[in-house]
Symmetry: C2
Subunit: 186 residues, 2 copies
DNA sequence: CCAAATGTGTTGCTTAAGCGACAAAATCGA
DNA sequence: TCGATTTTGTCGCTTAAGCAACACATTTGG
């Protein structure tokens, strides 16, 4: 991201303080019990400052989780790749890793928010890869494809969580040929 | 210290950033090679901000070392005690610990600064303890006594560094009776 | 049930920190 | 040695963060 490029260093610092404090707190107690005051006290910043950076705690939840997911997904690295079998493997693995990492902290009741975050990030990546693969194709149809792929991958991760045992690799392996066949055909 | 009481939290934060960065840097390179820029970059603050907190790097050296020494001396704890044998032991040990801890980082050429810092801190502690022991005594003479004791303890630590082997306890043990005898006599 | 306590989001004003530019000093390298 | 960097310390101006107070929900526990 060129997010923090040309951002005021104070803002960068404060934002990080808030994010980190939130992550720390969410290891101790679950989301619904965390107040803005808790966060600002942990971060040792003023409560008013919190609202300069985030709409409210839900906004923070969203952005904090996005950031964590972003690290797992390492979007930049993925968009350098091709839309091949390897990439599917690793995207799926990144998602399951992420789900694992936040399943410790208790965000019960916010599954839908989390799901949307995951899908949003996946969608961006898929769209970039699709555009690279089919530069001349219609953007809207690529977008729609990306949306469907992101929902698909996410759905697979839900299914994976339900079936305890399998490793992410072996689990997703079954579906990949089908997906790719569809992709190749287009 | 009531230092950071009623201080602006931003200033507290920034001050700590600078101090920590300086400590970090002084583990990597020696004092004379550390520039203000190095510190402010490490601390990710603006160079101008440095000068809001410190006169110059020498001022920082002084205050940073004072702080480190303060932790070793734990002034508050010592001033709760009596001016007895135990206290002399432990003050001497604190000083030698401090000398050890900064001997890794290379502050060559600043021994005199460091020495003064140590003596200043010792002097404050001795003065408090002396005042507690002799509440009715003349303040000036207590001050002078504190000065002499602080120089004495520091001198002893220099001597101790020269003679490699002995433990601080056994080393100082020889002198304590004499010091105490003088104190008791007064 | 309702009062007291706690949490939310916003505001106007104050202040610490960021920025760029500057002259002057120190350091370096050829 | 001398010119070129680099470092130092300072300046005026801009902006992010602190603060206290506010009205308005929400808990909470007696």
């Amino acid at each position: 991201m060129m997010d923090q490029a040309k951002m005021d260093p104070r803002a960068v610092r404060t934002r990080k303080l808030i994010m980190d404090s939130f992550i720390t707190l969410s290891e101790r107690k679950e989301f619904k019990d965390i107040t803005v005051k808790d966060i600002t006290m942990e971060a040792m910043i003023n409560r008013a400052t919190f609202y300069r950076h985030f709409e409210d705690i839900y906004d923070l939840l969203e952005k904090a989780l996005s950031e964590v997911l972003l690290v797992n997904l390492d979007s930049a690295a993925f968009t350098e790749r091709e839309l091949d079998e390897q990439t599917f493997f690793q995207l799926f693995e990144a998602v399951t890793n992420f789900q694992q990492s936040i399943s410790h902290r208790c965000h019960s009741g916010y599954e839908e928010t989390i799901a949307r975050i995951i899908r949003d990030q996946l969608e961006v990546i898929f769209f970039k890869l699709l555009t690279k693969k089919n530069p001349q194709a219609n953007a809207d149809s690529l977008h729609l494809t990306a949306v469907m792929l992101s929902w698909g991958i996410y759905g697979a991760s839900v299914e994976w969580k339900r079936n305890g045992g399998l490793s992410p690799e072996t689990f997703i392996k079954g579906a990949i040929p089908f997906i790719r066949f569809g992709l190749e055909a287009e």
